[in-house]
Amino acid sequence: MEIMEGSLAVAEAVKACRPNVIAAYPITPQTHIVEEIARMVADGELASEYVRVESEHSAMSVCIGASATGARTYTATTSQGMALMHEVLFNAAGLRLPIVMTAANRSLSAPINIWNDQQDAVSERDSGWIQLYAEDTQEASDMTIQAYKIAEDRDILLPVMVGMDGFILTHVHEPVELCPQEKVDDFLPSYDPDHYLTPKNPLSFGTIVYPSTYTEFRYMIHEAMKRAERKIIDVASDFRDKFGRHYGGLIDTYEAEDAEVLIMAMGSVIGTAKDAIDELRADGKGEKVGLVKVRCYRPFPAEAIAEAVKSAKAIAVLDKNISLGYEGALHTDVKSALYKENGPLALGFILGLGGRDITKNTIKNIAEKAQKAIKSGRVEKDSEFVDLGAL
């Protein structure tokens, strides 16, 4: 075990996956990842082609071209960079190319802000990328290796985005156990697609399709997404068998068994919530608060979530994003997942935007609001902003 910055732990995981081509453009707070990988390539530690591109649009385009030739590819971005990638993200998914990208989650302008929330990746929700969110640096590192295994599976063939909260995870120094190269080689065989671009057997990828078949192609991507649910669970188990670490499959739970109130969230806030829950349960008032960690956001694990919350009385969904004019994206999806069930009350909270800290007290206040809703039997406010102190 070593103490290292989150970005470096991810860079080490990328290196262990032996990508053939890396194309990236630096942007805070993703920079340390691609800077470190560039150093590895320059110093001869990693035998990859490192393409220095002029924009994120180009970074993803290079990954698409390289991936189509059968290369294993990697990139990382965040915020405005991801927004600039927008149209090419859809191409990567539609072409069914197993590109892996780290999303160092950050807010979107304006106003300009370089700090953490998850608006960037959530805004690319419908692009056809599998979206995973890491709780800590160890998981972000391990998830990168898992991501290739999921993406490159012949039944899946979809790009995977590994979300890690900007600064909170990318820049924090934590103890990390790196995966030994020979074990990663064993876990992750080289990418060997059935079809790839080669002059010996010319092919076109992503040809025009007419109204008569476009729907079917979209359906095929959707079906691959649905199959990925099982694959993500299996890969997490395989990873545990090989490396001894497990973070849940699509979701994970904490103190959820007897919980009346369940906090639900994605990313690094899970750690804070676990601490808050420990304190709430230890203070002797008998508060039954637990947690559902949403590890996989797309495909959306609707069934797993419905099952996990079925004996709770209220859920409080934390969103580090907002669909302006409605509510947090996770909140909407969770409520939709519970529509068929006679599910618990669902409260939504918008918080942690643009790097504002989410403290244990914030979580405790939210749990208290959920308990009040249980007592009164109704949700007073469907969705609310937390800590609007500056207004």
């Binding site: 539609g94 072409l95 069914r96 190319l97 063939l157 079809h195 010319p202 092919l203 076109s204 990828f205 992503g206 040809t207 025009i208 399709v209 078949t213 079917e216 192609f217 095929m220």
Partner: protein, 85 residues
């Protein structure tokens, strides 16, 4: 019909994808009036007009009916006719 992953196709797909079906108006060359100057062929953005003997003919499998040929013809020998008429 088998759909390939990622809408992949082998070379020569334009041989099977006949874009002439997109056409609303069909250019008809009046061979009597045609002076064989080749202006239509040079302006056709799809390269569907070829010289046949001294005159010109249109490949309707790929002509999309844009009407540029009719517009450019110096002797107005090309008429655009609504498909199906």
């Amino acid at each position: 019909m088998k759909l390939s992953i990622g809408a992949m196709a082998e070379p020569g797909s334009t041989r099977t994808n006949k874009t002439g079906s997109w056409r609303t108006f069909k250019p008809i060359i009046n061979v009597e009036a045609c002076i064989g100057c080749g202006t239509c062929s040079m302006f056709c953005p799809e390269g569907t007009i070829c010289k046949v003997a001294d005159k010109y003919a249109i490949d309707y499998d790929y002509c999309k009916g844009c009407g540029i040929c009719a517009h450019e013809c110096p002797v107005k020998a090309i008429e655009m006719v609504l498909e199906g008429e």
